[in-house]
C-alpha cells in the first residue's frame, strides 16, 4: 500500500508539491494526470524514495521512505521511466534485463529463469542477444519495462508510457496492464493520454500546480468539463461527441465507443 500524507517538496527555487495526500490500495490501477509541471513525476519519485518529502511523509507498505534506501524500496516499487535511453547501457538485451536482478542479489539460476520469462512476456526473446542500442524506439521501451518486471515488484509505476509509441505498442501496453492487474499488482501510470486512461483505468488522480485537485472514478473526472479544463486536458473524443449531442438527449458522461453507439442508436429510435 502507498500512503502519501501531506507531502511538500521543493526543488531549489520551485515548490513542486504543495500538501499532497493520497492512498493507493494493493491491486488498484490508478492514472495520475495533469498539466506539465503539475508535480506528477515529482510525486512518483517519492514512491521509491528517489525524493524524500521536505514536509509530510510517504509510507510504502508501512515503511516510511525516509528510513529506507532507494534500493530497498525499489525492490517493491518498480519505476519505469519515460525515456529508455536514460537507462540502457548493457551489451545485450539479456544482460540489460538481468541488471536489476543482479543488483537485488537474486541467485544466478533464478536470474536466468526470470530473464527468460520476461523476455517471452514482452515479446523480446528473439532480440535477447542484440545490443539494446540497435533496437527500435518501441523495442527499447519494452526492454526498459522488462528490466523492471523481471524482479516482480508489487507496485509498478510507469511515467508517460505512451509518449511516442504507435498504436500497436499502446495496445500491447494495455494488454500488459490487464495482465498485471489480474496478478493483483498495483499499477500507477502518469500520462496525458485521455483515451488510454478512459479505456484502461478505473481511478484517476488529477493534479494541478503541485496539488491533487480531484481523485475518483475515471468517468466522473474525465467527463467533468470544469476539472478537465483546470488540468489543461482535453476530454476523450467520445465524451466530446456526447457533449455535442447532449441537446438531443445523449448523456454527457460517456467515454467508451460502445456506450456512445448505444446512446446514439437509442436517440435515433433504432431497434438493435
Amino acid at each position: 500500500m502507498i500512503e502519501v500524507h501531506d507531502v511538500w517538496y521543493s526543488y531549489e527555487e520551485v515548490v513542486a508539491l504543495r500538501g499532497v495526500s493520497l492512498k493507493i490500495q494493493p491491486g488498484e490501477v490508478v492514472a495520475i494526470m495533469g498539466e506539465n509541471g503539475a508535480g506528477k513525476t515529482t510525486l512518483i519519485k517519492h514512491f521509491n524514495g528517489l525524493l524524500k518529502p521536505s514536509k509530510g511523509y510517504v509510507k510504502i507498505f508501512g515503511v516510511d521512505t525516509r528510513n529506507a534506501s532507494v534500493a530497498e524500496l525499489s525492490r517493491r516499487v518498480g519505476l519505469v521511466f519515460q525515456n529508455p535511453d536514460h537507462q540502457l547501457f548493457s551489451e545485450t538485451v539479456e544482460e540489460e534485463i538481468a541488471f536489476a536482478l543482479k543488483n537485488f542479489g537474486f541467485p544466478s539460476d533464478v536470474i536466468k529463469k526470470r530473464v527468460e520469462w520476461v523476455l517471452k512476456l514482452l515479446d523480446l526473446y528473439e532480440l535477447k542477444d542484440q545490443s539494446p542500442f540497435a533496437l527500435s524506439g518501441g523495442e527499447r521501451k519494452r526492454v526498459a519495462i522488462a528490466s523492471i518486471l523481471s524482479y516482480d515488484p508489487d507496485v509498478i509505476v510507469f511515467d508517460e508510457p505512451t509518449v511516442g509509441q504507435d498504436y500497436a505498442q499502446k495496445e500491447r501496453l494495455a494488454q500488459l496492464i490487464k495482465l498485471l492487474k489480474s496478478q493483483l499488482k498495483t499499477i500507477v501510470v502518469v500520462t496525458h493520454d485521455v483515451e488510454f486512461v478512459a479505456e484502461n483505468f478505473s481511478r484517476v488522480v488529477l493534479m494541478s500546480e503541485g496539488k491533487i485537485i480531484a481523485d475518483g472514478s475515471t468517468r466522473r473526472i474525465l467527463t467533468d468539463s470544469d476539472l478537465i479544463r483546470r488540468a489543461r486536458l482535453t476530454p476523450p473524443q467520445i465524451t466530446q461527441v456526447a457533449w455535442e449531442l447532449s441537446d438531443l438527449g445523449v448523456p454527457k458522461d460517456l467515454m467508451w465507443v460502445s456506450e456512445a453507439r448505444d446512446a446514439i442508436l437509442r436517440v435515433l429510435g433504432v431497434k438493435y
Binding site: 519519485k45 521509491n48 528517489l50 534506501s69 532507494v70 534500493a71 525499489s74 525492490r75 518498480g78 519505476l79 521511466f81 525515456n83 535511453d85 536514460h86 537507462q87 540502457l88 547501457f89 541488471f99 536489476a100 543488483n103 537485488f104 542500442f133 528490466s147 523492471i148 524482479y151
Partner: protein, 253 residues
C-alpha cells in the same frame, strides 16, 4: 553538480554584466596567471578576497556560494593529496589557489552572455567554428548535468547503489551512468549538427553579427585597473619578494 551553478550565465544588468567580454576575459586570465605564480597562503588569500566584491556588484553572491559549496569536495581532495605529499602549509595554499581559479572564471561565465563570448573570441581572431564549438560545449554542461541526474534516478530505481562496495567496485558502479550519458551526448550532437545544417550553418563564409562588440569608456577604465593590479602584483612578487617577506615576518613576528 552544484559546482556548475557558478558557471551558468545568469541574465542581469549590472556593471559587470555590461563590461565587454574581452575585458572580463583579460581579468580572468590575469587572475589565473597570478594564481599560478603566487605560492603563499597569505598572497593567494588576498587575491581571493579581492575577487569577492565583483560577485557582490554582479548580484551573484548566492550562485557563487553554491558553487563554493559544490566545489568543497574537489577542494577537499586537492587538500588531502597535497597534505600527504607536501604538508599542511602547501596544501592550504593549493586549496586557496583552486578556489581562486574557480572564482575568477566563475565571474566571467556568470555574467557573460554565451553569444557575446563567442563574439569576443571571434574578435580575438579565433575562427567562428571554434568559438561556437566552445560556447556550445558550455551551453550543454547544464543539459548534461540534468541528463546525468535522470540517468542516476533510473539506475538507482533498478537497485544500483553507487556508494556500495570497495573503491574499484564503486568506480565500476559508474559504468551504468556513464554509458547512457555518453551515448546520449553523441546522439544529441548529431541532432544538433543536423539542425544547424538545416538552418544553413556555414552557407556564407563571412558572417555578420547582430550585436557588434565595442569597447566603452568603462571597459577601458576596468582594463586599466586590471593592468595596474597585475603589474603591481608582479612587481611585488619579483622585485619586492613579498612572499619571502611575509614568510620571514610570520616566522620571526
Amino acid at each position: 553538480m552544484r559546482i556548475l551553478a557558478g558557471f551558468e550565465f545568469k541574465r542581469g544588468d549590472t556593471f559587470i554584466h555590461r563590461l565587454d567580454p574581452r575585458v572580463k576575459l583579460a581579468y580572468s586570465i590575469a587572475i589565473f596567471t597570478l594564481a599560478m605564480i603566487f605560492t603563499h597562503t597569505v598572497t593567494l588569500s588576498v587575491l581571493f578576497l579581492s575577487s569577492l566584491p565583483l560577485f557582490y556588484i554582479a548580484k551573484a553572491v548566492r550562485k557563487f556560494l553554491k558553487t563554493l559549496q559544490g566545489s568543497l569536495f574537489l577542494v577537499g581532495i586537492v587538500f588531502v593529496v597535497n597534505f600527504i605529499t607536501l604538508g599542511f602549509e602547501r596544501a592550504l595554499a593549493m586549496s586557496i589557489r583552486l578556489l581562486l581559479i574557480i572564482s575568477c572564471f566563475s565571474i566571467f561565465f556568470l555574467t557573460t552572455y554565451p553569444e557575446d563570448f563567442a563574439e569576443a573570441l571571434v574578435k580575438l581572431k579565433i575562427p567562428y567554428e571554434f568559438a561556437l564549438t566552445f560556447t556550445m560545449a558550455l551551453r550543454f554542461v547544464p543539459t548534461l548535468a540534468r541528463e546525468a541526474q535522470l540517468i542516476m534516478d533510473a539506475q538507482r530505481s533498478r537497485g544500483l547503489e553507487l556508494e556500495k562496495g570497495s573503491f574499484l567496485r564503486r568506480l565500476r558502479n559508474f559504468i551504468p551512468i556513464l554509458v547512457p550519458l555518453i551515448v546520449g551526448a553523441i546522439r544529441k550532437s548529431i541532432r544538433v549538427a543536423e539542425a544547424m545544417e538545416s538552418r544553413a550553418f556555414g552557407a556564407s563564409p563571412k558572417r555578420t553579427s547582430l550585436r557588434e562588440l565595442k569597447l566603452e569608456r568603462r571597459d577601458y577604465a576596468f582594463l586599466a585597473l586590471v593592468i595596474i593590479m597585475f603589474v603591481a602584483a608582479i612587481y611585488a612578487k619579483y622585485f619586492l619578494a613579498i612572499e619571502e617577506l611575509i614568510s620571514t615576518f610570520l616566522r620571526f613576528g
